[in-house]
Symmetry: C2
Subunit: 115 residues, 2 copies
């Protein structure tokens, strides 16, 4: 039927939310150019490491980037991030389809999703 990933409604929201931010857009852009480690990327983007970490965490949670801890030649631990190739096509129809699988904000369940 469809060749697209066709994510869950909740997934879609998560991905969209993770992308709806200037910093994170820049992060994706930078990583699309080439993978980078946290501190270096922070300098490159001109933001604090703490801030970068939060944003990277969010992107990673959405599955858009992945991290891999490596050791540099001088023995320092470097955490390299890289973008995960993805193609998301948004149209009223694809959204309508995803909306069908949205978790109901009904009562309190969702053991893992918390909140």
């Amino acid at each position: 039927m469809s060749n697209a990933p066709s994510p869950t409604g909740d997934d879609l929201v998560r991905v969209l939310a993770s992308l709806a931010n200037p910093h994170r857009l820049r992060i994706i852009a930078a990583l699309a150019r080439e993978r980078a480690y946290v501190s270096g990327l922070a300098r490159q983007l001109g933001i604090s490491r703490a801030l970068l970490q939060v944003h990277l965490r969010k992107l990673a949670a959405a599955g858009l980037v992945t991290a891999s801890l490596e050791l540099s030649e001088d023995g320092k631990a470097m955490n390299y991030y890289e973008v995960q190739p993805f193609v998301l096509t948004l149209t009223p129809e694809t959204i309508a389809a995803a909306a069908e699988t949205l978790t109901v904000p009904d009562s309190a369940d969702q053991p893992g999703a918390n909140r």
Copy 2:
């Protein structure tokens, strides 16, 4: 080069932000099926008018939906909303391109952008 709209970085953020919400996803889905007026749509979605209005406003601000005030046969003013056909393709590359045109969070200017 590209047939896509290729929106401004800021536009992209706005659009993504407007879509990153369960309610708004459902709204798009509902309107994709057929246009509807506020009160009716609110009932259909099971949310309050006030809430719907806010979300519709946001979607409209992003240019995803448009409103048109019409008069029903019995003279009542109905505000009909409908989705604006759109196709947004998100990939690390398209994002990288959009990121280039992002407004710098530099100092305080942007007279119209407020915030």
